[in-house]
């Protein structure tokens, strides 16, 4: 946790210092409220009676309790399929990407590996220059992965930035002496990686899994260009259709009574959708936060 250690306070605060402190606490509070208000408002609107949302009676807390719109969300087919697709992409994508990242970062963290500098340069260059959107699309086309789940997972299977962070982690936690000692005892590189490196790297593995899972969960653009089959759409793309393009497809709802109710709920549906799409990443975050901030710092400060 990146806690700021408080700077020492003088024994006796002067008047102007106390004023500065009060201003500081107030400013921090205002910053926080500015961040918090939109989130609270959306949550309250999603839990309020639809009539009160449309007529603007909701300001801060829910007015007239109702969870109808949440029930309605789960009756909408493409939201449900989008949700399960997104879970699949986030889980599958983050596991694959973490494996690739570890495989790239560990050898590149070892001292005296011939060609290390050149290979590292090959990776870093891609952060600064890319072929562009159209050539990337043509590659996916030539590989034959267009309109398959692979088109979402494979192109995102490594982020060079994460690789650099992971490499820095290895450099600072796995001493070269340990490698030498293991070699003397007849341990191979594979064996060392599997039995020593991996168990010592739980924090960085957690960081990678989280980074990649959140990135995958939040991504929509690759799905927009690589996929045309709606059954493969991730949640974010479905959200875009409903929230931003107002595409509300009645045929997606199974029974008619539901449909009539849904029309009333349509406006409020947006709020509850936002809440549902936001919850998974925010739920995961506190559990890995400790590792996460630590990992991000290792990379940023020493990288």
């Amino acid at each position: 946790m990146a806690m700021a250690t408080a700077t020492p306070a003088p024994v006796q605060e002067t008047r102007s210092d106390r004023i500065v402190m009060i201003c500081n606490y107030t400013a921090l509070g205002l910053f926080t409220l500015a961040v918090l208000y939109p989130l609270i408002y959306v949550l309250s609107a999603s839990l309020s009676d639809p009539k009160n949302v449309v007529s603007g009676k909701v300001w801060l807390w829910p007015v007239g309790w109702s969870i109808e719109s949440f029930k309605a969300v789960f009756d909408y087919d493409s939201i449900v399929s989008g949700f399960s697709n997104s879970v699949l992409y986030a889980v599958g994508g983050s596991v694959l990407a973490t494996v690739l990242t570890l495989f790239a970062a560990y050898p590149l963290s070892r001292k005296g590996l011939p060609g290390k500098g050149l290979i590292m340069a090959l990776f870093v260059f891609t952060m600064m220059f890319s072929g562009g959107l159209i050539p990337s699309y043509l590659v996916a086309d030539q590989l034959g992965i267009l309109n398959t789940r692979w088109a979402i997972i494979l192109p995102a299977a490594l982020a060079v930035w994460n690789m650099i962070i992971t490499r820095t982690f290895f450099q600072s936690t796995i001493p070269e002496e340990l490698v030498e000692a293991a070699k003397v005892d007849g341990c191979t590189d594979f064996g060392f990686f599997w039995r020593i490196v991996l168990p010592l790297s739980k924090p960085i593995i957690a960081v990678n899994l989280l980074f990649y899972a959140v990135a995958q969960w939040n991504s929509w653009f690759s799905a927009l260009i690589y996929l045309t089959n709606e059954h493969l759409f991730p949640l974010q793309l479905v959200l875009r259709q409903i929230l931003l393009q107002n595409q509300f497809d009645p045929s997606q709802v199974r029974d008619t009574a539901e449909l009539i109710r849904m029309k009333e709920l349509q406006e409020q549906l947006k709020y509850s959708l936002i809440v549902i799409a936001t919850i998974p990443p925010l739920l995961v975050y506190p559990f890995v936060q400790k590792h996460f901030v630590k990992g991000a710092m290792v990379g940023s400060l020493k990288g």
Partner: protein
């Protein structure tokens, strides 16, 4: 050439390790074969998904068509680049891209610094912890949802913004469909989303400041603000410079997805940037113009690279910290 460099470097590197002095390059590579085997998988990925598209970018110099493929299509030199530079879109796209990104750079640069300085000054632990926890949160919200939140908040009929303005008899203002508001909406929502998370790195720099510096300053009678100015700010300057360089380097690419989401036919005048134009030419028009779109994309990438190199050189010269 690569091998030459390696061979030449070998004695220097192994100098620290006398035991390895006699071992040749070939032997060392053979000894490390398992490491190369691990590296092979990510390298294949890199070749396919990063370097193959770079090679594919040569279609910018060709008239690409599906039947002849990348190699078979006819070379046309700089035709597409010339067409773009001469088109009426050129000036507008460059201006929109630069104005939007420079504005964003400004709006996302100072709030994290202020937040970090404030957090560092605050002494109540629970207060610091809650401020941090809350301000980080938007970082994890997806672009689609952030834009969704904007849309519901500023909706002319039901949104809270116009309900609020209505109290004073103003509005309703259709913020989304007005080109005058697009940039502010885009930039300040980015600031809202990234402020807390970007502050982490400044906080880290501030925690590395030795408490003795502050103690000495207090003994000398320095006020709180003076200590912020003379101790805290210099401590975060190197980090701030590096981040600024990184952001200048990505100035041509960043934020494209959010621009596309916030864009509509009514605010195109300010919201059309290079990348959204490439996307439209390639995927949203009836006749995809792959070569022309790729040429604009390549143009953008090259300018981005040049900007990064310039920014880095400047930083090395004036701030004595740089990326490489």
């Amino acid at each position: 050439m690569a091998t030459e460099t390696l061979v030449r470097r070998t004695p220097v590197r192994s100098g620290a390790r006398p035991a390895r002095n006699k071992v040749g390059l070939g032997t060392r590579m053979r000894r490390n074969w398992q490491l190369y085997a691990m590296l092979a998988i990510p390298l294949v990925w890199l070749a396919i998904f990063a370097y193959w598209p770079m090679y594919g970018a040569i279609i910018a110099f060709k008239d690409y068509n599906v039947i002849d493929g990348i190699l078979g299509s006819r070379w046309v030199g700089f035709k597409h680049f010339e067409r773009f530079v001469e088109s009426y879109q050129f000036g507008r796209l460059i201006k929109n891209t630069l104005v939007l990104q420079v504005y964003e750079l400004f709006a996302t640069f100072w709030p994290p610094i202020l937040l970090a300085l404030g957090l560092n000054m605050a002494r109540r632990k629970w207060y610091r912890r809650s401020v941090q926890l809350i301000t980080y949160a938007p970082h994890f919200i997806s672009t689609v949802v952030v834009v969704g939140i904007i849309v519901v908040l500023v909706d002319p009929n039901t949104g809270v913004l116009n309900q609020f303005l209505g109290i004073f008899g103003v509005g309703p203002i259709d913020v989304l469909n007005n080109p005058d508001y697009f940039r502010h909406l885009y930039v300040w929502s980015s600031s809202w989303q990234t402020m807390g998370f970007s502050a982490i790195i400044y906080l880290a720099a501030l925690t590395s400041v030795s408490p003795e510096l502050h103690e000495a300053a207090i003994v000398d009678g320095a006020s709180r603000l003076r200590r912020v100015w003379h101790i805290d700010l210099p401590a975060i300057r190197p980090v701030a410079v590096i981040l600024l360089i990184l952001n200048i380097g990505t100035i041509m690419t960043a934020g494209f997805e959010k621009v596309l989401l916030l864009q509509n036919t009514l605010n195109l005048q300010t919201s059309e940037v290079l990348d959204t134009y490439v996307y439209k030419l390639g995927f949203a028009s009836e006749v995809p113009q792959f070569s022309y779109a790729a040429a604009i994309g390549l143009f953008r990438s090259v300018i981005g690279l040049v900007l990064l190199v310039i920014a880095n050189t400047l930083a090395r010269k004036f701030a004595k910290s740089s990326l490489w």
